[in-house]
Amino acid sequence: MRHPTDNLYYLVFAALMVLLLLTVGVSRYELGAWSLPVAAGIASVKAVLILLYFMHVRYSRPLIWLVAGAGFFWLAILFGLTLSDYLTRDWPALPH
């Protein structure tokens, strides 16, 4: 099996640290409705780096791509179908 080099691991680690500082820095600005998408976006870039390099998906067989992809595909179904309901209905006011 092919492996990334140690130097590539150090590079990915440096990128993850920069993204950590970025997400903390951005959180100091009031982004309103954008704060969740921005935070989730930066976290997803970090997640993809971890998946592709630390978890070797980039160097793995197509079958591993399929299994990992299926996991996130079903996660997308779970989120897509549920939130399309909850975020579009006019729900009655909740107790405080």
């Binding site: 099996m1 492996h3 140690d6 691991y9 150090y10 680690f13 993850l16 640290m17 950590l20 997400t23 903390v24 959180s27 100091r28 600005y29 009031e30 704060s35 969740l36 935070a39 989730a40 930066i42 976290a43 970090k46 997640a47 971890i50 998946l51 390099y53 630390f54 978890m55 070797h56 793995s60 067989r61 079958l63 591993i64 299994v67 990992a68 299926a70 996991g71 996130f72 079903w74 996660l75 779970l78 989120f79 549920t82 939130l83 909850y86 975020l87 729900w91 909740l94 107790p95 405080h96």
Partner: protein
Amino acid sequence: MAEHSRALAHHFENLEQQRDAGELGMWLFLTTEIMFFGGLFLAYCVFRAWYPAEFVAGSETMDVTLGTINTAVLLTSSLSMALAVRAAGQSQRRRLVALLVATTLLGVVFLGIKSYEYHHKYEEGLIPFGGFPFAYDTGRRAGLVTFLNLYFLMTGLHAFHMVVGIFMLLALAVLAWRGGLLGERSLPVHNIGLYWHFVDLVWVYLFPFFYLIAVRSGGH
């Protein structure tokens, strides 16, 4: 017939098939973990849409400095884990043991900081279950209770995964010290590494979702 490697179990054709099967099994387990945590993240999104102001108020009770340090600790442990997997594949015994021990220690540091944070929440009266004193009986109680319940449930489940991972890392370190897990026998290090990175990946989302949604001074 080609010579038989002693690392090959009799029910596999060859080492590559054995390794592929083991790796596939680990990934199947990880897909169940994606859905396991996924349901909780979905609950977070629904409740955040219902209680936006209360989630901001809840996030203001979090210590961003400790959270940032803990994220850095966990990312560093992922680096040492990735290097350990490589050391195992290259049969570098001493380096493998050192990196496994380093990963374990970083995991313990993470749990130590997390325990301190939980204790601080107790002192501030911010544990809304189990009969602990809860200081918030004024307005917006339901939303804040929901936020804190999700915080303890999700970070607690994550911390439980860390504890399991730490015990597995210790077992790997002992086996590596005895001269196992090297070269063609390194699959367990690779698979526990996948688990450890996955737990890191979950935290990558937990950190901004709980610590970073408060509107703090210093911005505009």
